[in-house]
């Protein structure tokens, strides 16, 4: 026996080492226990370099990337400046509502909007196993991270926390072959299981009879007990009948492989599946509708061409064209500014510009060659009312206040 062992000493040692590791491996699988101490030591020894590596990466690779896409950055910068100016204007009206949404990133906005309690984290490292899709984030259980917590971004799901260490956590990405996510379609509320193990993400367990269309959004269904219901997952790339089950391919919206900043959902809250697809474009800014015209601030900050002066100018321009009057032209006839422009809806400021305070003046004949009650030149001091040549014979009756643009009643022709 001794001679046999000495003869096959190398092979014996190999067998002993391999069998020892196999037994240890079987013990872990049998007890379903994570060898926490070894992993904590290893991760704690490796991760302190994360800050240095991140700084190095941003100052080297990031600098080179910025250099080569400098034109894009400039263009983006101009666009952002323009957006910023526009948003500042909007902010006058909706300061409280837009203050966070305009200036914060999409992730922060999403974090504030979502009912789930989340904590932001940054990806600092990858896993050592090439075939396993996992990353490390810079938040550990000292920040309240626990194993099994879902990890998302504003665009979609990323993964789940597979291990939490003191200062870092390991996130198993949804693209890992062993990861499954329960999903639900937006339109038909068809349930399925997301599986990205084959290299391309597919939704399994959907019957051929179920209707799934290309471009349809899928959301988390909450059935996997990991992700709360209502987080966007991705859009359908192709949906074809298969053998037994429908072959549905999905394009993930979250891009878990290239994500750099994530949100760890500490307390998930189930949400309804939204009826409208989520907005995933970070560059576009959601513009709220313009402010109501009754607002006092709206008169101050109304868009170009919509002020009272602009409306008067517009009205006089139309009148001048209709009566062939050239403003500033030598020998041109004096136009009738009290006439109503034909075929043009009166601007909103007509009442203030045209109708005088007296209701009788509103009933004056349209064709009467009377001077305007208001100065034609903006900024000119209004002159005293000139005695009109045509005086209504009937006593002035108070007329009801008409809405803007409503047709006025013409004076009766028999009175002339």
């Amino acid at each position: 026996m001794e001679a046999l062992l000495s003869r096959y000493r190398n092979l014996t040692v190999l067998l002993v080492v391999v069998v020892a590791q196999l037994i240890y491996l079987a013990y872990q699988v049998k007890t379903n226990g994570d060898e926490r101490l070894i992993r904590v030591w290893a991760v704690t020894a490796v991760t302190p370099m994360a800050g240095i590596v991140e700084v190095t990466r941003r100052n080297t690779i990031g600098f080179l990337e910025d250099y080569f896409i400098l034109l894009d950055v400039r263009e983006q910068n101009r666009r952002l400046h323009a957006d910023n100016d526009r948003l500042r204007m909007e902010n006058i009206y909706y300061r409280n509502q837009l203050s966070t949404a305009v200036n914060a990133r999409a992730l922060t906005a999403f974090q504030q909007e979502t009912p789930s309690r989340t904590i932001a984290a940054r990806v600092i490292g990858n896993s050592t196993v090439a075939t396993a899709k996992a990353v490390f984030i810079d938040r550990g259980f000292t920040s309240g991270i626990k194993k099994g917590m879902p990890v998302v971004t504003a665009e979609g799901v990323v993964g789940k926390v597979s291990a939490a260490y003191p200062l870092v956590s390991q996130v198993l990405l949804v693209t890992d072959p062993t990861f499954k996510v329960g999903v639900e379609s937006q339109k038909g509320h068809i349930h399925g299981v997301l599986n990205c193990g084959t290299g391309q993400c597919a939704i399994e367990q959907i019957q051929n009879e179920d209707k799934v269309s290309t471009g349809e959004w899928f959301y988390t269904s909450g059935e996997d007990r990991i992700f709360p219901r209502g987080f966007p997952v991705g859009t359908v790339v192709s949906a074809q009948p298969g053998q037994g089950m429908k072959d549905v391919r999905l394009n993930l919206s979250g891009a878990p492989g290239g994500v750099e900043e994530v949100l760890v959902v500490q307390e998930g809250v189930h949400q309804q599946i939204p009826t409208a697809p989520p907005s995933v474009d970070e560059s576009s800014t959601a513009m709220l509708p313009p402010p109501p015209p009754e607002s006092k601030g709206a008169e101050i900050q109304s868009p170009k061409g919509q002020t009272q002066a602009d409306q008067i100018m517009q009205k006089y321009g139309i009148l001048g064209q209709e009566q062939k009057h050239v403003y500033g032209g030598y020998g041109s006839n004096l136009p009738n500014f009290n006439a109503k422009p034909e075929g043009q809806p009166l601007p909103g400021g007509e009442n203030k510009a045209q109708s005088p305070s007296s209701p009788a003046a509103a009933q004056a004949p349209a064709k009467a060659a009377a001077p305007p009650d208001r100065p034609a030149v903006l900024g000119a001091r209004p002159s005293a009312p000139v005695p009109h040549a045509v005086v209504p014979s009937a006593p002035a009756r108070p007329s009801p206040t008409l809405p803007l643009g409503a047709p006025r009643r013409r004076p009766a022709q028999t009175q002339q």
Binding site: R9, N10, V13, L14, V17, V18, Q21, L22, Y24, L25, A26, Q28, V29, D34, E35, I38, R39, W41, A42, V43, V46, M49, A50, V53, E54, T56, R57, T60, I61, V123, I124, G125, N126, S127, T128, V129, A130, T131, A132, A134, F136, K147, S162, A163, Q170, L172, D176, P177, T178, G197, T198, G199
Partner: protein, 181 residues
């Protein structure tokens, strides 16, 4: 036997390679390789295919010519990698695989002239493929994880790692030579 077979089958010239090689430098390189696998994809995108710990294990096995030392080195590297692997993979998967790689690399070095560039290229490719395939087999057989295996992708990654292995081995050779002077 012709000249080519003589060249390939002759015993290596330097038997006492490891005694001259700086053990500390090798240990540091191994740690850098393992930690580099953790950080390198963050620094340089699309480098997940690079298996520096495996290449070091192969190099150690080829140059050490000792099966026992090589298998222990492979086990150490593999277990260190396992400790940084996802929590759903138990510790020992890479340990077993790299133990076998180290043992077989040392076994091969007893038969072939492993200082030949062609031999190194072929062996690096072979051991990468063996490493990936055996790891996949273990995941399926021992853990029951139905993970896909893409031979084409493995082939490409093996070729890339072999291409990296040649200059890397030459640099390690230079380190060894410089330490002799």
């Amino acid at each position: 036997m012709n000249e080519t077979s003589d060249l390939l089958l002759k015993r290596p010239i330097r038997q006492s390679w490891f005694s001259r090689f700086q053990v500390i430098a090798l240990a540091a390189l191994t740690l850098v390789a393992i930690v580099g696998k953790f950080y390198l994809p963050r620094l340089i995108p699309h480098t997940e295919w690079l298996e520096l710990p495996l290449l070091l294990t192969i190099y150690f096995g080829l140059m050490k010519h000792s099966q026992i030392s090589s298998l222990f080195f492979g086990a150490f590297v593999g277990l260190a990698e396992d400790s940084l692997s996802p929590a759903n993979l138990p510790i020992g998967m890479y340990g077993i695989t790299k133990t076998l790689v180290g043992y077989f690399a040392a076994s091969v070095s007893l038969r072939f002239n492993v200082e030949s560039v062609v031999i190194r290229l072929i062996l690096s490719f072979f051991f990468y493929f063996f490493h990936a395939f055996f790891y996949w087999i273990m995941r399926r057989a021992l853990l029951g994880q139905m993970v896909p295996f893409d031979p084409q992708e493995t082939f490409v990654h093996g070729a890339l790692n072999s291409a990296v292995a040649i200059p890397l081995f030459l640099i390690l050779d230079r380190m060894k030579l410089s330490s002799t002077h």
